[in-house]
Protein backbone atom coordinates (compact mmCIF):
# COMPACT_ATOMS: atom_id res chain seq x y z
CA UNK A 1 0.00 0.00 0.00
CA UNK A 2 2.75 2.43 1.01
CA UNK A 3 4.78 1.35 -1.99
CA UNK A 4 1.84 1.99 -4.24
CA UNK A 5 1.36 5.41 -2.72
CA UNK A 6 5.01 6.44 -3.02
CA UNK A 7 5.01 5.18 -6.57
CA UNK A 8 1.93 7.30 -7.34
CA UNK A 9 3.45 10.41 -5.81
CA UNK A 10 6.03 10.35 -8.58
CA UNK A 11 3.31 11.06 -11.09
CA UNK A 12 2.52 14.71 -11.62
CA UNK A 13 -1.15 13.99 -12.39
CA UNK A 14 -1.50 12.19 -9.08
CA UNK A 15 -0.03 14.93 -6.91
CA UNK A 16 -2.24 17.44 -8.75
CA UNK A 17 -5.27 15.25 -8.11
CA UNK A 18 -4.32 14.99 -4.45
CA UNK A 19 -3.95 18.77 -4.10
CA UNK A 20 -7.27 19.31 -5.87
CA UNK A 21 -8.92 16.82 -3.49
CA UNK A 22 -7.45 18.61 -0.49
CA UNK A 23 -8.67 22.09 -1.40
CA UNK A 24 -12.02 20.83 -2.68
CA UNK A 25 -12.48 18.98 0.61
CA UNK A 26 -11.83 22.16 2.59
CA UNK A 27 -14.26 24.19 0.43
CA UNK A 28 -16.96 21.55 0.34
CA UNK A 29 -16.52 20.76 4.04
CA UNK A 30 -17.16 24.37 5.03
CA UNK A 31 -19.81 25.31 2.46
CA UNK A 32 -21.53 21.93 2.69
CA UNK A 33 -21.98 22.40 6.45
CA UNK A 34 -23.80 25.64 5.73
CA UNK A 35 -25.89 23.95 3.02
CA UNK A 36 -26.90 20.99 5.18
CA UNK A 37 -27.60 23.07 8.30
CA UNK A 38 -29.79 25.50 6.41
CA UNK A 39 -31.41 22.74 4.31
CA UNK A 40 -30.22 24.24 1.06
CA UNK A 41 -29.48 20.91 -0.63
CA UNK A 42 -32.13 21.36 -3.29
CA UNK A 43 -31.09 24.89 -4.26
CA UNK A 44 -27.49 23.64 -4.42
CA UNK A 45 -28.57 20.89 -6.80
CA UNK A 46 -30.32 23.52 -8.90
CA UNK A 47 -27.25 25.77 -9.03
CA UNK A 48 -25.05 22.78 -9.95
CA UNK A 49 -27.15 21.82 -12.93
CA UNK A 50 -27.79 25.40 -13.98
CA UNK A 51 -24.02 25.88 -14.24
CA UNK A 52 -24.08 23.48 -17.21
CA UNK A 53 -25.56 26.38 -19.19
CA UNK A 54 -22.35 28.28 -18.49
CA UNK A 55 -20.25 25.36 -19.66
CA UNK A 56 -22.18 25.26 -22.96
CA UNK A 57 -21.69 29.00 -23.45
CA UNK A 58 -17.98 28.59 -22.79
CA UNK A 59 -17.72 25.87 -25.41
CA UNK A 60 -19.63 27.86 -27.98
CA UNK A 61 -17.72 31.11 -27.59
CA UNK A 62 -14.42 29.36 -27.05
CA UNK A 63 -13.35 30.41 -23.57
CA UNK A 64 -12.65 28.41 -20.44
CA UNK A 65 -15.96 26.67 -19.59
CA UNK A 66 -15.18 26.77 -15.85
CA UNK A 67 -15.08 30.57 -15.90
CA UNK A 68 -18.39 30.91 -17.74
CA UNK A 69 -19.88 28.19 -15.53
CA UNK A 70 -18.83 30.17 -12.44
CA UNK A 71 -20.46 33.36 -13.72
CA UNK A 72 -23.59 31.49 -14.78
CA UNK A 73 -23.84 29.63 -11.45
CA UNK A 74 -23.48 32.79 -9.35
CA UNK A 75 -26.11 34.60 -11.43
CA UNK A 76 -28.50 31.63 -11.15
CA UNK A 77 -27.97 31.47 -7.38
CA UNK A 78 -28.60 35.19 -6.94
CA UNK A 79 -31.53 34.98 -9.36
CA UNK A 80 -33.22 32.20 -7.39
CA UNK A 81 -32.72 34.04 -4.08
CA UNK A 82 -33.88 37.37 -5.49
CA UNK A 83 -36.90 36.21 -7.51
CA UNK A 84 -38.17 33.88 -4.78
CA UNK A 85 -38.19 36.82 -2.34
CA UNK A 86 -39.68 39.43 -4.67
CA UNK A 87 -42.00 37.66 -7.08
CA UNK A 88 -43.81 35.39 -4.63
CA UNK A 89 -42.99 32.27 -6.59
CA UNK A 90 -42.41 29.16 -4.52
CA UNK A 91 -38.68 28.72 -4.10
CA UNK A 92 -38.54 25.02 -4.91
CA UNK A 93 -40.55 25.47 -8.12
CA UNK A 94 -38.22 28.29 -9.13
CA UNK A 95 -35.20 26.06 -8.47
CA UNK A 96 -36.73 23.43 -10.76
CA UNK A 97 -37.04 26.04 -13.52
CA UNK A 98 -33.43 27.26 -13.18
CA UNK A 99 -32.20 23.67 -12.93
CA UNK A 100 -33.69 22.59 -16.25
CA UNK A 101 -33.19 25.94 -17.99
CA UNK A 102 -29.43 25.80 -17.39
CA UNK A 103 -29.19 22.20 -18.59
CA UNK A 104 -31.23 22.97 -21.72
CA UNK A 105 -29.13 26.02 -22.53
CA UNK A 106 -25.95 23.99 -22.10
CA UNK A 107 -27.16 21.20 -24.38
CA UNK A 108 -28.16 23.66 -27.13
CA UNK A 109 -24.86 25.55 -27.05
CA UNK A 110 -22.76 22.39 -27.02
CA UNK A 111 -24.79 21.05 -29.95
CA UNK A 112 -24.28 24.31 -31.87
CA UNK A 113 -20.58 24.56 -31.05
CA UNK A 114 -18.48 23.61 -34.06
CA UNK A 115 -16.75 20.25 -33.92
CA UNK A 116 -16.70 17.56 -31.26
CA UNK A 117 -16.97 18.67 -27.61
CA UNK A 118 -13.91 17.28 -25.86
CA UNK A 119 -13.91 16.74 -22.07
CA UNK A 120 -17.70 16.94 -21.95
CA UNK A 121 -17.86 13.73 -19.96
CA UNK A 122 -15.26 15.22 -17.62
CA UNK A 123 -17.60 18.09 -16.74
CA UNK A 124 -20.52 15.75 -16.21
CA UNK A 125 -18.78 13.03 -14.21
CA UNK A 126 -15.56 14.67 -13.02
CA UNK A 127 -12.00 14.07 -14.14
CA UNK A 128 -9.74 14.47 -11.18
CA UNK A 129 -6.75 13.07 -13.03
CA UNK A 130 -6.74 15.85 -15.62
CA UNK A 131 -6.68 18.71 -13.11
CA UNK A 132 -4.28 21.42 -14.23
CA UNK A 133 -2.09 23.69 -12.06
CA UNK A 134 -4.35 26.56 -13.15
CA UNK A 135 -7.39 24.72 -11.76
CA UNK A 136 -5.54 24.19 -8.51
CA UNK A 137 -4.66 27.86 -8.14
CA UNK A 138 -8.33 28.77 -8.64
CA UNK A 139 -9.27 26.24 -5.95
CA UNK A 140 -6.68 27.67 -3.56
CA UNK A 141 -7.95 31.20 -4.16
CA UNK A 142 -11.53 30.13 -3.39
CA UNK A 143 -10.42 28.19 -0.30
CA UNK A 144 -8.75 31.33 1.04
CA UNK A 145 -11.87 33.44 0.41
CA UNK A 146 -14.25 30.89 1.94
CA UNK A 147 -12.03 30.18 4.95
CA UNK A 148 -11.40 33.85 5.71
CA UNK A 149 -15.10 34.69 5.37
CA UNK A 150 -16.13 31.89 7.71
CA UNK A 151 -13.44 32.65 10.28
CA UNK A 152 -14.25 36.37 10.45
CA UNK A 153 -18.02 36.09 10.23
CA UNK A 154 -18.54 32.76 11.98
CA UNK A 155 -20.90 34.19 14.61
CA UNK A 156 -22.96 36.09 12.07
CA UNK A 157 -23.23 33.10 9.72
CA UNK A 158 -24.28 30.84 12.58
CA UNK A 159 -26.89 33.22 14.00
CA UNK A 160 -28.36 34.30 10.67
CA UNK A 161 -28.57 30.69 9.48
CA UNK A 162 -30.27 29.64 12.70
CA UNK A 163 -32.95 32.32 12.87
CA UNK A 164 -33.16 34.81 9.99
CA UNK A 165 -36.10 36.71 11.38
CA UNK A 166 -34.51 37.16 14.80
CA UNK A 167 -31.33 38.46 13.14
CA UNK A 168 -33.47 40.97 11.26
CA UNK A 169 -34.91 42.27 14.54
CA UNK A 170 -31.31 43.11 15.48
CA UNK A 171 -31.12 45.22 12.31
CA UNK A 172 -28.66 42.87 10.66
CA UNK A 173 -28.16 43.01 6.88
CA UNK A 174 -29.48 39.46 6.64
CA UNK A 175 -30.23 39.58 2.93
CA UNK A 176 -26.73 40.77 2.00
CA UNK A 177 -25.16 37.96 4.01
CA UNK A 178 -27.52 35.50 2.29
CA UNK A 179 -26.45 36.77 -1.14
CA UNK A 180 -22.76 36.48 -0.29
CA UNK A 181 -23.17 32.97 1.07
CA UNK A 182 -25.23 31.69 -1.86
CA UNK A 183 -22.57 33.11 -4.22
CA UNK A 184 -19.89 31.23 -2.30
CA UNK A 185 -22.05 28.10 -2.59
CA UNK A 186 -22.21 28.59 -6.38
CA UNK A 187 -18.44 29.15 -6.69
CA UNK A 188 -17.66 26.14 -4.51
CA UNK A 189 -19.91 23.97 -6.65
CA UNK A 190 -18.25 25.07 -9.90
CA UNK A 191 -14.73 24.67 -8.49
CA UNK A 192 -15.63 21.13 -7.40
CA UNK A 193 -16.95 20.09 -10.82
CA UNK A 194 -13.46 18.91 -11.81
CA UNK A 195 -13.43 16.52 -8.86
CA UNK A 196 -16.89 14.97 -8.95
CA UNK A 197 -18.65 16.35 -12.02
CA UNK A 198 -22.00 18.13 -12.26
CA UNK A 199 -23.99 14.97 -11.67
CA UNK A 200 -22.13 13.90 -8.54
CA UNK A 201 -20.87 17.10 -6.90
CA UNK A 202 -23.83 17.41 -4.50
CA UNK A 203 -22.51 14.34 -2.68
CA UNK A 204 -19.36 16.18 -1.56
CA UNK A 205 -21.59 18.86 -0.07
CA UNK A 206 -23.90 16.49 1.82
CA UNK A 207 -22.41 13.07 2.65
CA UNK A 208 -19.40 14.21 4.75
CA UNK A 209 -21.66 16.63 6.68
CA UNK A 210 -24.28 13.97 7.30
CA UNK A 211 -21.62 11.62 8.64
CA UNK A 212 -20.15 14.40 10.80
CA UNK A 213 -23.62 15.23 12.13
CA UNK A 214 -23.85 11.70 13.52
CA UNK A 215 -20.92 12.48 15.82
CA UNK A 216 -21.52 16.10 16.74
CA UNK A 217 -24.30 18.66 16.85
CA UNK A 218 -22.06 21.72 16.89
CA UNK A 219 -21.82 23.75 13.68
CA UNK A 220 -18.09 24.35 14.13
CA UNK A 221 -17.31 20.69 14.73
CA UNK A 222 -19.42 19.64 11.74
CA UNK A 223 -17.26 21.91 9.57
CA UNK A 224 -13.95 20.48 10.84
CA UNK A 225 -15.11 16.87 10.73
CA UNK A 226 -16.62 17.28 7.25
CA UNK A 227 -13.35 18.57 5.85
CA UNK A 228 -11.50 15.55 7.22
CA UNK A 229 -14.14 13.05 6.08
CA UNK A 230 -14.37 14.62 2.61
CA UNK A 231 -10.60 14.40 2.18
CA UNK A 232 -10.42 10.80 3.42
CA UNK A 233 -13.24 9.92 1.00
CA UNK A 234 -11.54 11.68 -1.91
CA UNK A 235 -8.20 10.05 -1.11
CA UNK A 236 -9.68 6.55 -0.82
CA UNK A 237 -11.69 7.05 -4.00
CA UNK A 238 -8.62 8.24 -5.84
CA UNK A 239 -6.62 5.15 -4.86
CA UNK A 240 -9.50 2.81 -5.74
CA UNK A 241 -9.91 4.55 -9.07
CA UNK A 242 -6.23 3.96 -9.82
CA UNK A 243 -6.17 0.34 -8.61
CA UNK A 244 -9.37 -0.81 -10.35
CA UNK A 245 -9.18 1.62 -13.25
CA UNK A 246 -12.64 3.10 -12.62
CA UNK A 247 -13.78 6.76 -12.92
CA UNK A 248 -12.46 8.76 -9.94
CA UNK A 249 -15.60 10.83 -9.34
CA UNK A 250 -17.78 7.77 -8.95
CA UNK A 251 -15.28 5.89 -6.78
CA UNK A 252 -14.99 8.90 -4.42
CA UNK A 253 -18.76 9.01 -3.97
CA UNK A 254 -18.87 5.24 -3.47
CA UNK A 255 -16.25 5.51 -0.72
CA UNK A 256 -18.25 8.24 1.00
CA UNK A 257 -21.55 6.37 0.73
CA UNK A 258 -20.01 3.20 2.17
CA UNK A 259 -18.43 5.21 4.97
CA UNK A 260 -21.84 6.71 5.71
CA UNK A 261 -23.55 3.30 5.81
CA UNK A 262 -20.88 1.82 8.09
CA UNK A 263 -20.90 4.78 10.49
CA UNK A 264 -24.70 4.88 10.57
CA UNK A 265 -24.98 1.15 11.29
CA UNK A 266 -22.33 1.51 13.98
CA UNK A 267 -24.18 4.38 15.65
CA UNK A 268 -27.44 2.41 15.59
CA UNK A 269 -25.62 -0.48 17.27
CA UNK A 270 -24.06 1.77 19.92
CA UNK A 271 -27.45 3.33 20.71
CA UNK A 272 -29.02 -0.10 20.92
CA UNK A 273 -26.42 -1.27 23.43
CA UNK A 274 -26.81 1.93 25.47
CA UNK A 275 -30.59 1.54 25.67
CA UNK A 276 -30.21 -2.14 26.62
CA UNK A 277 -27.87 -1.19 29.43
CA UNK A 278 -30.18 1.52 30.78
CA UNK A 279 -33.18 -0.81 30.67
CA UNK A 280 -31.39 -3.69 32.39
CA UNK A 281 -30.05 -1.66 35.31
Amino acid sequence: MIELFSELLNYRFFTNALLASLFTSINCGIIGSYIVSRRLVFISGGITHASFGGIGIGYFFGFNPIVSAAIFAVLSALGIEFIAKKAEIREDSLIGIFWSFGMALGIIFIFLAPGYAPNLMGYLFGSLLTVSPADISLMIALTVIVAVFFIFFYKVILFISFDQEYAKTHKFPVQIVNYILISLVALTIVMSIKVAGIILVISLLTIPQTIANLFTKSFKNIIFLSVIIAFLGAFTGLLLSYIYNIPSGASIIMSLVFAFIIVKLFSILVNYIKVKRIVST
Binding site: S37, R39, F162, D163, F172
Partner: protein, 251 residues
Protein backbone atom coordinates in the same frame (compact mmCIF):
# COMPACT_ATOMS: atom_id res chain seq x y z
CA UNK B 1 -42.20 56.74 33.46
CA UNK B 2 -41.46 57.67 29.90
CA UNK B 3 -42.67 56.70 26.48
CA UNK B 4 -40.85 53.87 24.72
CA UNK B 5 -42.72 53.94 21.46
CA UNK B 6 -45.87 55.21 19.83
CA UNK B 7 -47.82 53.46 17.09
CA UNK B 8 -49.74 56.05 15.12
CA UNK B 9 -52.54 55.27 12.69
CA UNK B 10 -50.87 52.10 11.41
CA UNK B 11 -52.42 49.90 8.72
CA UNK B 12 -50.52 46.81 7.67
CA UNK B 13 -50.95 43.45 5.95
CA UNK B 14 -49.66 41.05 3.33
CA UNK B 15 -50.09 41.61 -0.40
CA UNK B 16 -53.47 43.23 -0.87
CA UNK B 17 -54.91 41.82 2.33
CA UNK B 18 -55.20 44.34 5.15
CA UNK B 19 -54.71 42.63 8.52
CA UNK B 20 -54.42 45.68 10.75
CA UNK B 21 -56.36 48.88 10.26
CA UNK B 22 -55.73 52.27 11.85
CA UNK B 23 -53.95 51.04 14.97
CA UNK B 24 -52.95 53.47 17.71
CA UNK B 25 -51.01 52.41 20.80
CA UNK B 26 -48.52 53.98 23.19
CA UNK B 27 -46.11 51.81 25.15
CA UNK B 28 -44.51 53.20 28.30
CA UNK B 29 -41.83 51.92 30.65
CA UNK B 30 -43.17 49.31 33.12
CA UNK B 31 -46.22 48.55 30.99
CA UNK B 32 -47.36 44.93 30.99
CA UNK B 33 -49.79 44.60 28.12
CA UNK B 34 -51.60 41.42 27.16
CA UNK B 35 -52.55 41.34 23.50
CA UNK B 36 -55.51 39.08 22.91
CA UNK B 37 -57.71 38.37 19.94
CA UNK B 38 -58.88 35.59 17.63
CA UNK B 39 -56.51 33.66 15.37
CA UNK B 40 -55.80 35.65 12.24
CA UNK B 41 -56.81 38.84 14.03
CA UNK B 42 -53.38 40.40 13.50
CA UNK B 43 -51.66 39.90 16.88
CA UNK B 44 -48.40 38.59 15.41
CA UNK B 45 -48.55 41.12 12.58
CA UNK B 46 -48.69 43.91 15.15
CA UNK B 47 -45.55 42.57 16.84
CA UNK B 48 -43.79 42.37 13.48
CA UNK B 49 -44.70 45.95 12.66
CA UNK B 50 -43.22 47.07 16.00
CA UNK B 51 -40.09 45.00 15.31
CA UNK B 52 -39.70 46.54 11.87
CA UNK B 53 -40.08 43.17 10.11
CA UNK B 54 -43.17 44.37 8.25
CA UNK B 55 -43.45 47.84 6.78
CA UNK B 56 -46.87 49.34 7.48
CA UNK B 57 -48.91 50.55 4.49
CA UNK B 58 -49.57 53.77 6.32
CA UNK B 59 -48.90 55.28 9.71
CA UNK B 60 -45.70 55.09 11.71
CA UNK B 61 -43.97 53.55 14.70
CA UNK B 62 -41.91 56.12 16.58
CA UNK B 63 -39.29 55.24 19.18
CA UNK B 64 -38.28 57.56 22.00
CA UNK B 65 -34.87 57.57 23.67
CA UNK B 66 -34.90 57.21 27.40
CA UNK B 67 -33.09 59.66 29.64
CA UNK B 68 -29.81 57.76 29.60
CA UNK B 69 -29.91 58.12 25.84
CA UNK B 70 -29.21 54.48 25.04
CA UNK B 71 -31.32 53.73 22.02
CA UNK B 72 -29.72 50.54 20.65
CA UNK B 73 -31.52 47.27 21.09
CA UNK B 74 -34.73 48.54 22.53
CA UNK B 75 -36.66 45.33 22.02
CA UNK B 76 -36.10 41.78 23.20
CA UNK B 77 -38.18 39.36 21.12
CA UNK B 78 -39.39 35.85 21.80
CA UNK B 79 -40.85 34.43 18.57
CA UNK B 80 -43.34 31.60 18.24
CA UNK B 81 -41.44 28.45 19.01
CA UNK B 82 -42.65 26.46 16.00
CA UNK B 83 -40.94 28.75 13.50
CA UNK B 84 -37.50 27.40 14.22
CA UNK B 85 -35.64 24.44 12.72
CA UNK B 86 -34.95 22.32 15.79
CA UNK B 87 -32.41 20.17 13.97
CA UNK B 88 -30.12 23.12 13.41
CA UNK B 89 -26.69 22.40 14.93
CA UNK B 90 -26.50 25.11 17.60
CA UNK B 91 -26.09 24.84 21.36
CA UNK B 92 -28.22 26.40 24.08
CA UNK B 93 -25.46 28.79 25.07
CA UNK B 94 -24.89 29.90 21.50
CA UNK B 95 -28.60 30.67 21.10
CA UNK B 96 -28.57 32.80 24.26
CA UNK B 97 -25.42 34.65 23.14
CA UNK B 98 -27.02 35.43 19.79
CA UNK B 99 -29.23 37.85 21.73
CA UNK B 100 -26.17 40.09 22.02
CA UNK B 101 -25.75 40.28 18.26
CA UNK B 102 -26.38 43.98 17.77
CA UNK B 103 -24.58 45.05 20.92
CA UNK B 104 -21.29 43.33 20.18
CA UNK B 105 -19.18 43.68 17.09
CA UNK B 106 -19.55 41.30 14.20
CA UNK B 107 -15.96 40.10 14.31
CA UNK B 108 -15.20 39.88 18.00
CA UNK B 109 -15.38 36.61 19.83
CA UNK B 110 -17.44 36.58 22.97
CA UNK B 111 -15.56 37.91 25.96
CA UNK B 112 -15.64 35.99 29.22
CA UNK B 113 -17.97 38.66 30.59
CA UNK B 114 -20.66 37.91 28.04
CA UNK B 115 -20.31 34.17 28.47
CA UNK B 116 -20.74 34.59 32.23
CA UNK B 117 -23.81 36.76 31.61
CA UNK B 118 -25.33 33.99 29.50
CA UNK B 119 -24.47 31.37 32.11
CA UNK B 120 -25.95 33.49 34.91
CA UNK B 121 -29.20 33.84 32.99
CA UNK B 122 -29.36 30.11 32.26
CA UNK B 123 -28.75 29.52 35.94
CA UNK B 124 -31.61 31.85 36.94
CA UNK B 125 -33.92 29.95 34.62
CA UNK B 126 -32.78 26.64 36.09
CA UNK B 127 -31.35 25.28 32.84
CA UNK B 128 -27.62 25.84 33.41
CA UNK B 129 -27.01 22.10 33.11
CA UNK B 130 -28.40 22.17 29.55
CA UNK B 131 -26.03 24.88 28.27
CA UNK B 132 -24.01 22.56 26.04
CA UNK B 133 -26.97 20.63 24.64
CA UNK B 134 -28.13 21.06 21.07
CA UNK B 135 -31.49 22.82 20.96
CA UNK B 136 -33.12 19.80 19.36
CA UNK B 137 -32.63 17.84 22.59
CA UNK B 138 -34.79 20.14 24.72
CA UNK B 139 -38.45 19.97 25.71
CA UNK B 140 -40.88 22.75 24.78
CA UNK B 141 -40.71 24.37 28.21
CA UNK B 142 -36.90 24.29 28.29
CA UNK B 143 -36.73 25.75 24.80
CA UNK B 144 -39.07 28.55 25.81
CA UNK B 145 -36.73 29.47 28.68
CA UNK B 146 -33.73 29.46 26.33
CA UNK B 147 -35.52 31.90 24.03
CA UNK B 148 -36.45 34.05 27.01
CA UNK B 149 -32.75 34.18 27.95
CA UNK B 150 -31.89 35.21 24.40
CA UNK B 151 -34.55 37.92 24.48
CA UNK B 152 -33.42 39.50 27.75
CA UNK B 153 -29.63 39.05 27.69
CA UNK B 154 -29.21 42.50 26.12
CA UNK B 155 -31.36 44.10 28.88
CA UNK B 156 -33.93 45.57 26.47
CA UNK B 157 -36.41 48.28 27.44
CA UNK B 158 -39.28 46.30 25.98
CA UNK B 159 -39.79 42.55 25.94
CA UNK B 160 -42.24 41.13 23.39
CA UNK B 161 -43.42 37.53 23.57
CA UNK B 162 -45.45 35.78 20.90
CA UNK B 163 -47.61 32.98 22.30
CA UNK B 164 -45.12 31.95 24.99
CA UNK B 165 -47.51 29.40 26.46
CA UNK B 166 -47.73 27.12 23.43
CA UNK B 167 -46.14 23.70 24.10
CA UNK B 168 -45.82 24.51 27.76
CA UNK B 169 -47.47 22.61 30.59
CA UNK B 170 -49.59 24.40 33.20
CA UNK B 171 -47.03 24.11 35.98
CA UNK B 172 -44.32 25.70 33.92
CA UNK B 173 -46.74 28.31 32.63
CA UNK B 174 -47.22 29.63 36.16
CA UNK B 175 -43.43 29.70 36.72
CA UNK B 176 -43.03 31.49 33.43
CA UNK B 177 -45.46 34.26 34.27
CA UNK B 178 -43.82 34.66 37.69
CA UNK B 179 -40.51 35.18 35.90
CA UNK B 180 -42.15 37.77 33.65
CA UNK B 181 -43.57 39.53 36.68
CA UNK B 182 -40.05 39.84 38.06
CA UNK B 183 -38.71 41.12 34.75
CA UNK B 184 -41.47 43.70 34.57
CA UNK B 185 -39.77 45.72 37.31
CA UNK B 186 -36.93 46.31 34.83
CA UNK B 187 -38.64 46.41 31.45
CA UNK B 188 -41.99 46.86 29.75
CA UNK B 189 -43.59 43.64 28.51
CA UNK B 190 -46.01 42.85 25.71
CA UNK B 191 -47.32 39.32 25.59
CA UNK B 192 -49.45 37.94 22.79
CA UNK B 193 -51.78 35.11 23.65
CA UNK B 194 -54.95 33.52 22.39
CA UNK B 195 -55.42 32.04 25.86
CA UNK B 196 -56.96 34.80 27.94
CA UNK B 197 -57.11 32.62 31.03
CA UNK B 198 -53.68 32.84 32.58
CA UNK B 199 -52.57 35.98 30.87
CA UNK B 200 -55.08 38.29 32.58
CA UNK B 201 -53.79 37.29 36.00
CA UNK B 202 -50.45 38.86 35.31
CA UNK B 203 -50.87 41.67 32.83
CA UNK B 204 -51.73 45.20 33.87
CA UNK B 205 -53.69 46.17 30.78
CA UNK B 206 -55.24 44.40 27.80
CA UNK B 207 -55.32 45.23 24.11
CA UNK B 208 -57.84 43.40 21.91
CA UNK B 209 -56.64 43.04 18.35
CA UNK B 210 -59.03 41.97 15.63
CA UNK B 211 -58.09 44.08 12.63
CA UNK B 212 -58.69 47.09 14.89
CA UNK B 213 -57.16 47.60 18.32
CA UNK B 214 -59.12 48.37 21.47
CA UNK B 215 -57.07 49.29 24.47
CA UNK B 216 -58.52 48.25 27.80
CA UNK B 217 -56.82 50.02 30.71
CA UNK B 218 -57.32 47.26 33.33
CA UNK B 219 -56.80 43.51 33.41
CA UNK B 220 -60.47 42.79 34.16
CA UNK B 221 -62.59 42.45 31.09
CA UNK B 222 -66.14 41.22 30.61
CA UNK B 223 -67.86 39.35 27.81
CA UNK B 224 -69.90 42.48 26.99
CA UNK B 225 -66.78 44.57 26.68
CA UNK B 226 -65.14 41.98 24.45
CA UNK B 227 -68.23 41.92 22.29
CA UNK B 228 -68.23 45.68 21.97
CA UNK B 229 -64.54 45.48 21.01
CA UNK B 230 -65.51 43.05 18.25
CA UNK B 231 -63.21 40.48 19.82
CA UNK B 232 -64.83 37.03 19.65
CA UNK B 233 -62.81 35.02 22.15
CA UNK B 234 -63.41 33.00 25.27
CA UNK B 235 -63.76 34.98 28.47
CA UNK B 236 -62.58 34.44 32.02
CA UNK B 237 -63.36 36.04 35.33
CA UNK B 238 -61.21 36.49 38.39
CA UNK B 239 -61.95 34.54 41.56
CA UNK B 240 -60.22 32.67 44.34
CA UNK B 241 -60.13 29.52 42.26
CA UNK B 242 -59.03 29.83 38.63
CA UNK B 243 -61.92 28.66 36.50
CA UNK B 244 -63.51 29.13 33.12
CA UNK B 245 -67.01 30.51 32.84
CA UNK B 246 -69.13 28.98 30.14
CA UNK B 247 -72.05 30.66 28.49
CA UNK B 248 -75.39 29.89 30.11
CA UNK B 249 -76.78 26.84 28.37
CA UNK B 250 -79.64 24.37 28.81
CA UNK B 251 -78.92 20.72 29.58
Amino acid sequence: MSKILEIKDVSAGYGNEIVLSKINLVINDHDFIGIIGPNGGGKTTLLKVILGLIKPYRGSVMFFDDKQGKSENIIGYLPQINQIDLQFPISVKEVVLSGLMSKEGVFSRYAGKQKRLAEDLLNQMGIYNLRKKAIGELSGGQLQRVYLCRAIISSPRLLMLDEPNTFVDTRFETDFYEILKGLNTKMAIIVVSHDVGTISWYVKTIACVNKNLHYHPTNVITQEQLASYNCPIQIITHGDIPHTVLEIHKH
